[in-house]
């Protein structure tokens, strides 16, 4: 009994702080129901009959669809897209590293809990549309990814996986964690799949953005949802503070009042970089704060997946 005490404490510490976001099934259903989820014509752009617009060329695109007229007129490599009737697999990549387990005093739940609600809601929507859903992890307790599955059973499996995940792992040390997740996506996501990354984009290894942007080939749609805690989003601290990162041993002592603007500028710079880079690949970045209702985030993701700006 006494020997297992530390282990129990460790488990409790690592348990996801759901806060007001649990139970996941109900919250996810509520979020999904708030979004119009009717049958859709395939939003997949790629090889097909009906012209669907242009987008910038990314390495790996089929050279047959390069629009030479646009090249000659504008001097830019553009790819012609076509609408086609097909299923659109949903690939969820959830960041479950230690930083995602953070929940400030005023937040309804941990960032990972919020991401789980969004992911579950998206799963419900996708399955209701007959699209398969796959789940990959960055960090976390090293659980196995879920392959693309459809049907009610798939929803249960995804929800079960999301419910039991525990935040953990230091992406600063495990620099290949993101690459492993994206490699699985690149290998298994079929043309036209929607890849949704749910992460706080903090402590991600270098080149993560490049690797993620590279998934835009084969007509995949990339959506990155940056989930932030209200404290991270606003930095509502005052006076001298001593902060330590969730991952690694980094510590900083500073005066919050003096550095708030600098911090927010750095945060915005990261968002801007992701947004710009994803836009080049036809993707979008969605900012989400855990204090906001998950349904709005889900709605933005759905809109983003349909090609509209969130």
């Amino acid at each position: 009994m006494s020997a297992s005490a530390p282990e129990s404490r460790l488990t409790l510490e690592q348990t996801l702080d759901w806060g007001e976001l649990a139970p996941l099934r109900l919250t996810a259903r509520s979020a999904a129901d708030g979004v119009y989820a009717g049958g859709h014509r395939s939003q997949r752009r790629g090889a097909g009959v009906e012209f669907g617009g242009h987008r910038a060329y990314v390495p790996g695109d089929d050279l047959r669809f390069i629009d030479r007229h646009a090249l000659m007129r504008h001097g830019r490599l553009m790819v012609r897209q076509f609408e086609t009737e097909t299923d659109r697999a949903l690939r969820l990549v959830v960041d479950a590293s230690a930083s995602m387990g953070f929940r400030s005093a005023g937040a309804p739940g941990a960032k990972l809990a919020y991401a789980a609600v969004v992911a579950a809601a998206l799963t419900r929507i996708a399955i209701s549309n007959g699209d398969p859903v796959a789940l990959d992890w960055i960090g976390g307790d090293a659980r196995e990814p879920l392959p693309a599955l459809g049907g009610r059973e798939a929803f249960e499996r995804v929800v079960a996986a999301l419910e039991t995940v525990r935040p953990g792992g230091d992406l600063g040390l495990d620099t290949a964690a993101a690459e492993r997740a994206f490699a699985g996506v690149a290998r298994h996501a079929r043309r036209g799949s929607v890849v949704v990354l749910l992460s706080d984009l903090i402590d991600l290894p270098e080149h993560t953005l490049d690797r993620f942007a590279a998934l835009a080939s084969l007509g995949r749609t990339l959506i990155a949802v940056r989930v932030l805690d209200p404290l991270e989003a606003s930095f509502a601290l005052e006076g001298p503070v001593r902060l330590y990162a969730s991952e690694g041993s980094f510590r900083v002592e500073t005066d919050a009042s003096l550095v708030r603007q600098g911090y927010l500028a750095r945060l915005a710079a990261i968002a801007s970089e992701w947004r710009q880079r994803l836009a080049e690949s036809g993707g979008v970045l969605i900012d989400a704060v855990t204090s906001e209702a998950p349904v709005s985030t889900v709605r933005e993701v759905v809109l983003g997946a349909r090609g509209g700006q969130p």
Binding site: F102, D200, D203, V241, F250, T254, D255, L258, V259, Y263
Partner: protein
């Protein structure tokens, strides 16, 4: 709680409270988790910025200023453990430092140093506090008291003398040392004169006089537990040893052993078994009590080459061993006095004999009916007292002269018979020529002229003489007047004859003629005679510090426990050489090819007389710490001014530098970095 303690606590609070407040203000902020911590720019918190160098320095300077102010205010209350010279008017000081170098100063103190080391350290501290213009004299209080350094303004010479001082086995002579100290500073022009006595006060009381004696260093006067072998004398096959203990505790569980000396001068007799060097040949337990005790032992070998030693350890290790002297041949004093006229009305021995016995010196008093005609009969005597002699026959004068030439000391107490000497007899060598006895109006001896005799000498100022011998007209050539009547007539005359000495007094001892024999000065006078005879006769056993006198022209070599006795002290007379053995032990003396052995012992009073605190109500001695007050107000005030200047400079620097720093910190680029 005294006022000083309360003041000190208040000052401590003044310093500590701001410091604690300062620490609280700059305490570290609480740590909290923040995943994007690496995005947060590093900026030193304002409170921490303020607690940087300039604040710390200012804090230190201001705290030092508060302390300096407190010290400045408390200067009258400050006492320093270092000895220092208090200056009454801020001027130069004439200082006589009396250092006790007697045996008792060898005692170990709880600090691990001997009393003498502490006293010498105190003398050094006093010299360190001396300024240019101060005159310093160094007096040694080991008997006989002596001047190690006459009053001088050369402080370097004083330091050298203090550095060269060594503790001895001499008895203590505080009274004479203090008088020497007073007389050393008296003729100096300094208004402020001081006599500092660095002693354990294991001796006679300090005499009256000015200036009062300052006796600091109370740690010198702590009691000690010590036993010492005072003397050991062989009597036939027995050895009788005298042991003195300061307390019963010191004697408890200890024994006296006789061991074969490493410096054995004589070989054991043929009949006795041989013993190895250091081997204990007899032993006896000590009686656990304070004071003197005599222990009798019968060794298996002769005592001449033996040492008496105490087992165990005590405060003074050096006095636990003493050589066994051969059978004592006490100093003989011959007394020629008329029992009919020179005795007390109750009868008994003559007053001279009684006085000599009262001195309790180690001398054998022998009354003689007449002065022997043969010098050989006088050989066994070191001193001779002639009381109211009626004239000396030529044969007796010749024998006396021969005896004097060899070192005898004769005291002539001249009385009415000196006026009517028989035909063919004279009083030479005491006086030359006819003498007269007559009444006098003089009341006694001029105290100033007999001050050399010490405090008892003053008692001779009231003698109520019914008559006296007029010496003025009959002074022998080369005679010196040692003391005079209060009307200027000679009272006592000294004349050196060869190695010997004659002392002539113009009064007899008979109580019918004067109160001379009733005065303490009479005992002191006889003691002076014995001392002079000891110096000349060279007793085989003497107390450390007793001078040995030899004719100036003689060749003398003395080997002591520490090698040749190098220190040669010039005595008062040009015709003598005096050696002063200051250490206990066995000495080998060679005079003109003749070798003799002498034993130097210690004075038991050094052990049995406990150190004592001087009477606090005695105005002759100042023991309080008033005089070691340190007036450092001027130095503290200077330090305070320096601190003030430093504080102003720091504030000026702070006013310029932090502004620049803050401007830099306010820039967005600074945050972005």
């Amino acid at each position: 709680m005294s006022f000083a303690v309360g003041l000190a606590l208040a000052v401590a609070a003044f310093v500590v409270v701001p410091f604690v407040a300062h620490l609280l203000r700059r305490s570290r902020a609480d740590e909290r988790e923040f995943p994007p911590a690496h995005l947060v720019p590093v900026v030193e918190p304002v409170a921490r910025q303020r607690s940087r160098l300039e604040d710390r320095a200012l804090f230190g300077v201001r705290a030092a200023m508060i302390l300096a102010l407190a010290v400045l205010g408390a200067t009258p209350l400050v006492r320093c453990s270092r000895l220092s010279i208090a200056r009454q008017s801020g001027g130069s000081v004439a200082l006589a430092i009396v250092v006790d170098d007697s045996l008792s100063m060898r005692s170990q103190t709880p600090s691990g140093k001997s009393r003498f080391d502490l006293a010498r350290g105190g003398a050094r501290e006093l010299l360190a506090a001396a300024r240019e213009g101060d005159a310093v004299a160094v007096i040694l209080a080991g008997a006989p008291a002596r001047v190690a350094l006459s009053a001088t303004t050369d402080l370097g010479a004083a330091r050298r003398v203090i550095a060269e001082l060594e503790v001895t086995d001499r008895p203590t002579d505080l009274a004479a040392a203090v008088q020497l100290g007073r007389s050393a500073v008296k003729p100096l022009p300094h208004v402020d004169r001081k006599v500092v006595l660095l002693s354990d006060f294991a001796g006679a009381p300090v005499p009256n006089g000015e200036p009062a004696v300052w006796a600091p260093m109370a740690e010198l006067r702590n009691a000690m537990d010590d036993c010492a072998v005072v003397s050991a004398v062989s009597h036939g096959r027995r050895v009788s040893a005298t042991v003195a203990c300061s307390s019963a505790q010191a004697a408890r569980g200890r024994s006296l052993d006789l061991a074969v000396s490493t410096q054995a001068a004589t070989a054991p007799d043929a009949g006795a078994p041989l013993a190895k060097t250091g081997e204990v040949v007899a032993s006896a337990k000590l009686d656990p009590r304070a004071g003197e005790q005599t222990v009798s032992l019968e060794p298996s070998t002769l005592g001449a080459g033996l040492d008496a030693q105490l087992s165990g350890k005590d405060s003074i290790a050096e006095d636990d061993r003493a050589p066994v002297a051969p059978e004592a041949q006490g100093l003989g004093v011959a007394v020629i006095s008329d029992v009919a006229t020179s005795s007390a009305t109750t009868g008994g021995a003559t007053v001279v004999e009684q006085a000599l016995e009262a001195l309790a010196l180690d001398v054998g008093v022998k009354p003689l009916p007449t002065l022997p005609d043969d010098a050989k009969e006088l050989e066994r005597f070191a001193a001779l007292v002639l009381d109211d002699p009626g004239g000396l026959a030529p044969e007796a004068r010749a024998a006396l002269g021969e005896w004097l030439e060899r070192g005898g000391v004769a005291l002539g107490l001249l009385g009415p018979r000196a006026e009517s000497v028989q035909l063919g007899t004279t009083l030479e060598p005491f006086v030359s020529g006819a003498l007269s006895w007559g009444t006098t109006k003089s009341g006694g001896v001029d105290p100033k002229s007999i001050a050399w005799l010490g405090a008892p000498g003053s008692s001779l100022s009231s003698l109520a003489p019914r008559g006296r011998v007029r010496l003025e007209s009959a002074l022998a050539p080369g005679a010196t007047v040692l003391a005079r009547w209060d009307d200027g007539e000679p009272f006592m005359v000294e004349k050196r004859v060869g190695r010997g000495l004659t002392l002539t007094v113009s009064l007899p001892s008979a109580p019918d003629h004067s109160d001379l024999a009733l005065r303490p000065g009479f005992l002191a006078l006889l003691e002076h005679v014995i001392e002079q005879s000891e110096r000349r006769a060279g007793p085989r056993r003497s107390v450390a510090g007793t001078p040995w006198a030899f004719p100036a022209g003689s060749r003398v070599e003395i080997d002591g426990p520490r090698g040749p006795l190098a220190r040669e002290t010039a005595s008062g007379a040009e015709t003598e050489r005096a050696f002063v053995p200051s250490r206990v032990g066995r000495y080998r003396v060679r005079v003109e090819g003749t070798t003799e052995q002498r034993i130097v012992t210690l004075d038991s009073a050094e052990i049995t007389t406990a150190p004592h605190e001087p009477d606090q109500h005695d105005e002759r001695v100042v023991t309080s710490g008033v005089d070691n007050q340190v007036d450092a107000s001027s130095e503290v005030a200077l330090a305070l001014l320096a601190l003030l200047a430093l504080e102003l400079a720091l504030r000026a620097t702070r006013r310029l530098a932090p502004r620049r720093k803050r401007r830099r910190a306010d820039r967005p680029s600074a945050l972005a970095s």
